[in-house]
Symmetry: C2
């Protein structure tokens, strides 16, 4: 398979973790016979410094000519006092908008080797394996009118049937590749938009008779994410509820620094990035945890390129290295061997090679 990938390292630890993900992609390309053309471009604060624009036109052009985007992280105190249009985060908002990346996908999976650092009891957090599918380009954060006077303020929550249909379809498609259950979260007992949302889910489920569907109110979902997180497979919800619930879910397994994410559209094009931020305090010190960036690259292989075997190999390799006790400083703990970013990536690549070889030995016996 031949694919072009836009690589946008961004700010802080962005470049280091993106480099790590690229090394893993190169190893995958070599072993599995793919060609990945990697085209680097600037975004965020780095782009503001170089081009006075957090999302320069040449970056858009590079992305336009690519099959997917791999992003590191944006932001840093250096640009905190910039005017709104020169803030690093604006680059991220603009790129999502420009490419109409309406589906934000955030998997949360318990890592056995890291359950120690979960705030939840091990028996509650273990085996958690869910994906939150959040509508990203509509709802209360974008609806008009949006205004403020001396005496009052207004925001507007609007959803069209089409906006709901496309995100709900995404959730059903993802559920088909997993345990086949969709939990649709709304506030249908109070909100008109939620009533429409629920109606669309009921309509769309007819096309997915193999998928189990449940409706849950957002306040109940906020409780159940803590009391029984294993009950979730695919969660689909509107923008603001998804903002709150995906962040809530990100801390339950204790592996926040490990979480990848995707923002995609219906044709498979998408942007892949770690959930963690740019961590400027440890930037350039070869100690950032590259797992989330590497797992984001795996999501790209799966969602944008349909390379499920390769994606699974990467996930297995990262988990293998962690289970061997290796980790970066953020996960330091009893019985752990703290290594540099570079060393961690080398370990992941070695693990990938070992997997690949043992698979092929097995084949030759069959």
């Amino acid at each position: 398979m031949k694919k072009t990938i836009a690589v946008l390292p961004g700010d802080g630890i962005g470049p280091e973790v993106t480099d790590a993900a690229v090394k893993v992609l190169q190893s995958i390309a070599m072993r599995y016979g793919h060609t990945f053309h990697l085209k680097h471009a600037a975004i965020g604060g780095t782009a503001v410094d170089q081009f006075d624009n957090p999302l320069p036109q040449q970056t858009i052009d590079v992305c336009d000519a690519s099959d997917a985007i791999l992003l590191g992280a944006v932001g840093g105190t250096k640009w905190d006092s910039n005017p709104a249009h020169l803030r690093p985060e604006k680059g991220l908002l603009n790129i999502r908008k420009h490419f109409d990346l309406f589906a934000n996908i955030r998997p949360v999976k318990a890592v056995p080797a890291l359950l120690d650092s979960s705030p939840l009891k091990e028996e509650v957090a273990k085996e958690v394996d869910m994906v939150i599918v959040r509508e990203l380009t509509s709802g209360l954060y974008f609806g008009e009118p949006k205004r403020r006077s001396e005496k009052s303020a207004v925001d507007t929550l609007v959803y069209t049937r089409e906006e709901i249909e496309r995100i709900v379809n995404q959730a059903f498609e993802i559920a088909r590749t997993r345990r086949g259950k969709v939990t649709s979260v709304d506030k249908a007992n109070v909100l008109e938009t939620s009533k429409l949302w629920r109606e669309v889910v009921e309509e769309r489920r007819k096309a997915y008779p193999d998928i189990e569907v449940e409706h849950m109110l957002v306040d109940s979902a906020a409780m159940k994410l803590i009391t029984d997180p294993r009950a979730f497979d695919v969660v689909v919800t509107e923008n603001m509820f998804g903002d709150i619930l995906s962040d809530e879910a990100s801390v339950i397994t204790g592996s926040l620094g490990m979480l990848p994410s995707a923002s995609i559209r219906s044709d498979g094009f998408g942007l892949y990035e770690p959930v963690h931020g740019s961590a400027p305090d440890i930037a350039g010190q070869n100690k950032a945890n590259p797992s989330a960036a590497i797992l984001s690259a795996a999501m790209m292989l799966k969602h944008s390129f349909g390379l499920h075997t390769e994606a699974a190999a990467i996930e297995k390799a990262v988990m293998g290295v962690l289970e061997d006790g290796y980790c970066t400083g953020d996960l330091a703990g009893e019985g752990k061997r703290v290594v540099s970013t570079d060393r961690f990536v080398t370990k992941v690549v070695e693990e990938l090679e070992r997997e690949f070889v043992s698979e092929h030995i097995m084949y030759s016996y069959v």
Copy 2:
């Protein structure tokens, strides 16, 4: 002190737990020399059955002539298919609206004897002691326009400066009786209503220089409630965020069945009720946990009547009985002695008397 209390038992276990709270109030009245006139009235499904109205006029009249309202619970499958205006919950919504009870106050306090049943690790959940102050009568759930067509739907989030001022003032006043910290939760990086909210908090804090103030985005708050819940003292937020966060917070200590709540207005008038529902499956079996109703009565003494000593005595008595190992069936576990609702209340009253006597013996030595 002479006070009139409207007692609205409601549905399911409502009558049993309200009876329990009344017994405790009677014990307090006797020991501390107060007179509480108790006037019972119907609400919820029970009121629908009797009067074809979940909030009959005679109930409003009783409440109007009272200094505070003690409520059990409303709702049950029996009325689930009723039209909207004959649903039990409508009684609760209407009474809040009729009396303009804009401040919903939900304390969440870890009970050492119950930490076993928390989904959080003991070291995370222990010593949690926070109060969530939620704006209850405005925001996205009530704002107009609110409409739906075949193709789209709209809800509107509106806040006036006055609506924000009065709830923020409540939070500051409550913080003064506690550890002196207010966390104001909003989404000021995106919402106009949140920008106004933050502006009002910044203005009002000038009148409370003794109170520490922090602003937190709602998605960060949803994370921190799990990773570091002890960091919160008083949380103040708008209606929808408060709905989600207060339910999230209610499960972190494992004592959901124990949580009281208040819905009050600025003059001290208020409605006090358990957070738990009407639990029709165990109604009338003398096994409901009356703690939340009893603690709601304690909140009434504190917030509506200013009887802080008496409120503290009730809280201490309930915790004492739990620490002695007594509990109702919902909290059954190793080393626990499961007792009936009646027996539990008797234990609480005995504990209250013991406290009272030992306090007075101490006084006579002084």
